[in-house]
Amino acid sequence: MEKKIVRNERTGEQYTYVKHPTGLDIFIWKMEGYSTTHALFGTKYGSINTKFRTNNEPDFITVPNGIAHYLEHKLFENEDCDVFSLYAKTGASANAYTSFDKTCYLFSCTDNVYDSLEILLSFVQDPYFTEETVRKEQGIIGQEIRMYDDNAGWRVFFNMLQGMYHEHPVKIDIAGTVESIAQINADLLYKCYYAFYNLNNMVLSIAGNVDEDKVLELCDKLLKNNDNPGLETAFEPEPDTVCQQEVVQKLEIAIPMFNIGFKAKPESGREAVRAEIETNFVLSLLADESSVFYKKLYDEGIINSSFSSEVFRGDGYFCSIFGGESRDPRLVKDKLIEEIQRCKKEGLDKERFDIIKKSYYGALIRDLNDAEAIATTMINAGMEKISAFDVIETVANVTFEDVSKRLEKQFNTENVTISIIEPIDNKEE
């Protein structure tokens, strides 16, 4: 067992990293004086991983959309009971989520930490599906998909991804569609399970009121030694250009909502983290609440305080998104492109760079108050094969020159998609 203490001088914080003989990466962060413990057990398997091969299946296979999320729902069911009813005996609050590139099972508790951890490690390693239990889930997941159909914030985002990407499966809803989930059966679920839920592809992360030795003792007892299946994932080649420049849908809302995305070339590992941080600086400099651009559009009533921006990235995709409500979303897009071109020519605001750095750093320090935030940071770091302190250190060391280069590189004003949700005009009916 490889074990090391990872310490950060800047904050005085530390955690323990362990490479378990089974292949699992384990992160443990003891938070002195806290009552809460937050634990995450996750696999690097999300909605985008629909094409893969293993040693047993040397040819690439493509599985139905939404299967990672479906699997998450089904793992929550043991052979003889629901996993919630196991946690009920420890008092832990448990949940699970599937994102584009990961599936995580989690609990948060104040007592009976090790009993809860035993439940977590056991059920995730113990799949049980039959054709009947798989079929039953279709009703519940169908309802979940329908619920998101009504959610304008969700629709505006996915419509933008659909416009932006030609091939990459990030354009598909995480839960899939009513049609795609109808193709899912027990055999497919097992196939995906054994490919992605191998401990070499997984991370365990625990933060809070926790004893390291007890955690490792449980891991030794419960982690199963399986062969590494030699998992390999693949994506269809994705062009640099966007698929559609504009996508419009009508829903029952009050003010039009928009997402404007700038598509960029994805990077991986540490480089992707650096790209995300530097791009976040660019977004703040361009259009945060203190920017000249924001004030101008806000004062003219073109945007309101719902306006915000973020970096969205993962395996094979990277884009910067501006979103909010506006009575004229296309004008917001034109103004944004104008502002980006102006900044490329005249340069970004150097004076504000130092202020933004302090502000970004402050937000990361605030996260250190919270067991959930820490556990999440560690599992993300584990899946990217970086240190949990890499983000804080990168932010502290970023230079204005790095950020200026990033503006050139990451904001091609040709590769833009705007997604708009317009209110239904009831008078037309």
Binding site: S35, Y87, A88, S359, G362, I365
Partner: protein
């Protein structure tokens, strides 16, 4: 590690509560102005915190204010408005990292407190009202927010349900008021109402940090000392009366999934017993509603209950296919009958009890959660720490839970459904 609680009066109807915990890496200040809900003032009251947190006389625009806050390591000042039973709480929240985490040991907490005090008692005024340009933008946002309530169908259904559940009570008023009143607000009328609130509302301040801060208390005491107070008295909520007949309302909108809100009323006076009953019935993923209505029968994507202790109302909130509405309603009633008949195991009680205790034990870990806990306590005239509630919930028996369930009467069924779905 326990939180050290200390509450002191710093003015007429103004209290400063400090919640100290060594491991806090941030300092947080919440200032709440509590006032009775009324349809005349709900909208203007909802607007005021947002106007205040965007500027002050010293930092007259959002750009200047934000620049200053960013220099303080991304300190934040936020306004919000919330409903507590029949009262409305207007809140300003400020937060920053502890001075010891700054690059050069800067005193940012004191600076942030001064800025917050400025936003609250020394706003950006022109003539007899708030500075009009910024005010008009904030007003437009309030109107947009009121219009946008329909975007989130679950919240919208809940709002519409409340209007029926609390008919003729202050609690029926939407937290942001209504469009008609909002449209008529002017920079001058809002400023007048603001002055009235500073004068008459109950003001509760919470400071959460690693150590007690005399300087923050002094900055705030000094700021409030300039105000000529005539505190109008306490805020309270009344238990909602049961209607003579069950109120049934169905409304049609463009939705794919229908929403149903059922309300049961009670005059049971033991809140902790009601909370435990609610947890067994529908508030956890092992509750009767989740296990039966969602899991066993696949009738809903979500179906859960919540208890409004200030109004004595238990809600059941669900998302259902239109064709299943009646089935879902019947099944929810069946599950409540099961509770009344004592048809639940000791294990279900202990599991629910454990889940609640687990969440109460974690309250002290978050700045926001501990401040909200004591704000709720002081609204009800108490100052019990979470540990005290834990002690009390340990004493609740099976019979207590059955009695609590028996006290519930169906009052309202509200359904939001698709346009093609209404018969």
């Amino acid at each position: 590690m326990a939180v050290i609680y200390n509450r002191e009066k710093i003015g007429e109807g103004i209290n400063f509560t400090s919640l100290i915990n060594k491991r806090q890496k941030t300092n947080t200040i919440m200032i709440h102005l509590l006032t009775p809900l009324s349809s005349e003032t709900a909208s203007v009251n909802a607007l005021i915190p947002y106007v205040l947190c965007g500027s002050s006389r010293e930092y007259p625009t959002i750009t200047i204010l934000n620049k200053k806050l960013s220099e303080l390591y991304g300190a934040v000042i936020k306004g919000s408005v919330s409903k507590m039973g029949d009262s409305q709480a207007l809140s300003l929240m400020a937060g920053c990292i502890n001075n010891r985490y700054t690059f050069n040991n800067e005193k940012i907490t004191e600076e942030m407190t001064k800025i917050l005090a400025g936003c609250l008692v020394d706003p950006n005024i022109s003539g007899n009202g708030f500075e009009s340009k910024d005010f008009e933008l904030k007003k437009q946002e309030l109107l947009d927010d009121i219009d946008a309530e329909i975007n989130d169908k679950r919240a919208y259904a809940f709002k519409r349900a409340n209007m029926n559940i609390f008919r003729n009570e202050p609690a029926s008023i939407s937290i942001k008021g209504d469009r008609e009143h909002a449209e008529n607000i002017t920079a001058v009328s809002a400023y007048e109402q603001y002055k009235e609130l500073l004068k008459t509302s109950q003001i509760e301040i919470f400071f959460v940090g690693a150590e007690y801060s005399n300087s923050c208390k002094d900055i705030l005491s000094e700021a409030f000392a300039k105000i000529d107070r005539s505190y109008s008295g306490d805020n309270h909520s009344d238990i909602s009366p049961l209607k003579d007949e069950i109120c049934r309302v169905t409304e049609a909108h463009d939705v794919a999934q229908s929403k149903m809100v059922m309300a049961f009323k009670t005059d049971h006076n033991n809140i902790i017993t009601m909370k435990l009953m609610n947890a067994v019935f529908g508030a956890t993923p092992i509750s009767k509603l989740f296990m039966n209505v969602r899991e066993k029968l696949s009738l809903c994507y979500y179906c859960s209950s919540g208890f409004n202790e200030k109004k004595g109302v238990l809600y059941v909130d669900s998302g259902v296919e239109h064709s299943n509405i009646e089935k879902a309603e019947n099944e929810i009633i069946n599950q409540l009958e099961a509770m009344k008949n004592g048809d639940f195991s000791d294990e279900e009680i202990e599991n629910a009890r454990l889940a609640i205790i687990n969440s109460w034990k974690g309250v002290g870990d978050g700045a926001r959660s501990i401040a909200d806990w004591y704000f709720n306590q002081c609204y009800s005239g108490r100052s019990d720490p979470p540990e005290k509630n834990i002690e009390n919930i340990m004493k609740v028996t099976r019979n207590d839970i059955i009695e609590a369930a028996k006290s519930l009467r169906l009052d309202t069924v509200y359904v939001l459904t698709g346009k093609g779905d209404t018969e």
